[in-house]
Each structure stands twice: as structure tokens, then as C-alpha cells.
Symmetry: C2
Subunit: 231 residues, 2 copies
């Protein structure tokens, strides 16, 4: 039943006030439900019951909106004080934490890769802690400045790759189909031209756990870093 005509107050659609926080919240809702590709200006506007043009009052463009999501995702990252006796473990934990956060919001990693030098408050705190761990570990300063980049990139890139197929049921099915195709393709190739790949295939197939591979990758990197440490 429509409201009586004298209730003029409810004529206008009830809608929460537009503004950056509301926009980012809507965008994150869409991203977590439908993936980053669904986070278009039009779709976010629709979620807020308005038109795409309205968003441009609060956000410069789509890229800026995406970066605001990244801000939100990394907001709460807690970092323990550096402890010289276990700096390697602390460094590893931080890398894994950063990656876990991105995996919890599939799409965030893609924004991280697409953003030229992400510099949200949360990321800065993480970077500072990373440097702190390396310093108390005795890694020379000139190395620290260079080693942070690759280390952060490993986490982001891994989370990106993972989010390609972990997000949706369709993605998982697609991934399985793809793996089967690759298995068949490898079977069809001349084994003598790919001797090492052939020799290691069983190993690869049996132990193909993405997260374990990533964790080992971090371990290897930190072990390498330790060989440069002076303490």
C-alpha cells in the first residue's frame, strides 16, 4: 500500500548520505561478493541507489576508488616489536600476514599490483616494521632499502595469482580444467626435450600446494637475506 498523500516526508527515497566512507563501504561489499571486476562506478552507484556521475563528487576516478579500498583493507595490521633473537621468524610472519590480509579480500591484491607504489598508512607501518626486523638482524642498510621491494612484491603477486581462481566456484572449476589440460599437454610433449620437468612431474603434482610453495619462497628469501647479515 502506498503511503497516504499527506505524508510528504517519505516521498523522497530514503538513502544514506553519499560520501567517501559510504562509497568505499559499498565498493568493498561488492568486491567481496562479486570480485574486483564488478566494482565499476556504475555498479557502486547502483548499490547506493544513485547514478555513476554522483560518485565523481567524492572520488576523482575509478583508480582512486580502488586505492581507497586498499587503504581500508590494510587499515589494521598489527606489528610486534622487533626481537633480535627471532627477527627471521618475525619477518616471515609479517610477510605471511600481509599476504593473508590480501587473500581475505580477493581483489585487493590486484589493486596492489596495479597501484604504482601503494602507500597507505597500513602499508607504511608494515614496511617500517619490515625494515626494523632486518636492522636488528644485522642486514646492512643499503640492502634493506632494496630488499623490501621484492619481498613485498612476492606476497602481492602470490595473492594476486591465488585470487584468480580461489574467488568463485566457476574459477575453481576453470582452474581444474586448466590443470588437466596442462597434464595432457605435458604427456604429449617429447620427454627427452624437457628432461628435468619430466623427472620432477610426480613431485610437482603431489606437492602442489600454493600456500606451502609461497611460504617456502619466503623462507628461501629470508635465508638468502641472512647470508648477507653481519651479525
Amino acid at each position: 500500500m502506498p503511503p497516504p498523500p499527506w505524508r510528504r516526508g517519505t516521498d523522497k527515497p530514503v538513502r544514506q548520505q553519499l560520501g567517501v566512507p559510504a562509497i568505499v563501504a559499498a565498493a568493498m561489499r561488492i568486491m567481496d561478493r562479486e570480485g574486483l571486476d564488478a566494482v565499476s562506478m556504475r555498479r557502486v552507484a547502483q548499490e547506493l541507489g544513485t547514478g555513476a556521475a554522483s560518485l565523481y563528487q567524492h572520488v576523482r576516478n575509478k583508480r582512486e576508488l580502488h586505492e581507497l579500498i586498499l587503504d581500508e583493507v590494510f587499515r589494521d595490521l598489527d606489528v610486534p616489536e622487533p626481537d633480535p633473537t627471532r627477527w627471521q621468524q618475525q619477518l616471515k610472519d609479517l610477510c605471511l600476514d600481509l599476504t593473508r590480509i590480501m587473500l581475505a579480500h580477493p581483489g585487493a591484491a590486484k589493486i596492489g599490483m596495479e597501484t604504482l607504489i601503494p602507500t597507505t598508512p597500513g602499508v607504511l607501518v608494515g614496511m617500517d616494521a619490515m625494515m626494523g626486523y632486518m636492522r636488528v638482524g644485522g642486514v646492512p642498510d643499503h640492502l634493506i632499502a632494496k630488499a623490501c621491494d621484492p619481498l613485498a612484491l612476492m606476497g602481492t603477486a602470490f595473492a594476486y595469482e591465488a585470487s584468480l581462481w580461489t574467488t568463485s566456484a566457476a574459477g575453481r572449476a576453470e582452474a581444474h580444467r586448466r590443470i588437466d589440460e596442462i597434464e595432457a599437454y605435458l604427456d604429449s610433449l617429447p620427454h627427452e626435450q624437457l628432461p628435468h620437468l619430466t623427472a620432477l612431474r610426480k613431485q610437482i603434482r603431489d606437492e602442489d600446494d600454493g600456500w606451502a610453495n609461497f611460504e617456502l619462497g619466503i623462507d628461501i628469501f629470508i635465508a638468502g637475506l641472512a647470508t648477507y647479515a653481519t651479525r
Copy 2:
């Protein structure tokens, strides 16, 4: 002047026959000139003087077209025989080569990141060689299977990041603007809350050479790998 009416042969527009090779060639031309974002079905079709619908006779969808580009990019990668006395150097060279190839075709790295497990002939040869180097180096087999992933990902991710801003003059300008903004932002932050970042800032600014950072990242990773080697 139009051709005389009896020259019926030239009435139809002269156009090279459509087909996968022509399509991929056109796509690569566009990618190298205008970046991956410009490689749309419509734009590639335009380049070939036809409509987008025609491409679907030869290519399943845009993703497949992009992967065909990756095939082409990695076609010629030459890999030296493994030499036990310098496997670490060989492994490093291979990683750098793979990355250089992607940097030579900005856009290729993005396809590599977006492709679930890229498996072109060229990539397979590269992977096999990578494993070969690790094997003659005495890295245990179960480690090799896991270490290839992160190593390849480091190169792809680095090339992707680099291609974000190295491609166009506009991109480079944008990157410079961004760096200046970040510098100003860091200045404005409470230094006591980011002590390590503050202490290392001069170092970071002075030595911020992306390629050098990447090379060092690979060095560190390989040094770490060597600590696991049994030979």
C-alpha cells in the same frame, strides 16, 4: 580517380587473409605501440580492416588472444646447458632474461600475471632449464618443485610493475608526480612512528633503481636456495 568499371577484380578491398597468425601479429603491433589495454577485439579487428565478430572464427575469446601473444613473446628463449661450477650464475641469467623479454613487450607481463599457470612452449623450456640448473647445483628435488613458482613470479611481477609506468610518456610523468606526492606525504608523517623508514629514506631515494633492486632480489633468493643445496 576510381578504377575503370571493367576492372572488377579490384572492387573488393584488398586485405590479407584472416587467420590466427595475422590476428596475433596485429594484436602484438597494437600492444607494443599502445599498450595491452588497447588490444581489444574491436581494435584488433579494426587493424585488420574487419569487424570484431570475425575474430571469433579463429579465437575463442579475448583471453585466448592475449595468451597467444604470450606464446609469441616467449617463442625464442635460448637456454645454455647447465654447468655445475656456475649454476647460480646461470639461474640468475635465465631469470633476468625471462624478465627482459617481458620488459621488451610491455603488456606481456600483465598477461603473464592474469594467465592461470602460463604454459607456452617457450615458458616450458625455460622452466625445464631452471630446474636443470638447480639440480646440478644440488638443490633437493622436493625443493626445486616448489622454488620455481616464486622465482618465476618474481620476474613476472617485477616486469608488470615496471610496465605500469615505463610504457608511455604520460605514465612516466604520472610516476614522477606520484613519487613527489609520496615524498611530501612521508615528510608530513610523525617520524617517531616510522623510525626505520625515516632512517633509511635517503638511502631509498638515492638508490631507487628498479632493475638493480630486482637483480638483488634474485641474488638474495638464489643465495637462499644455495643454503639448502647438499653439494
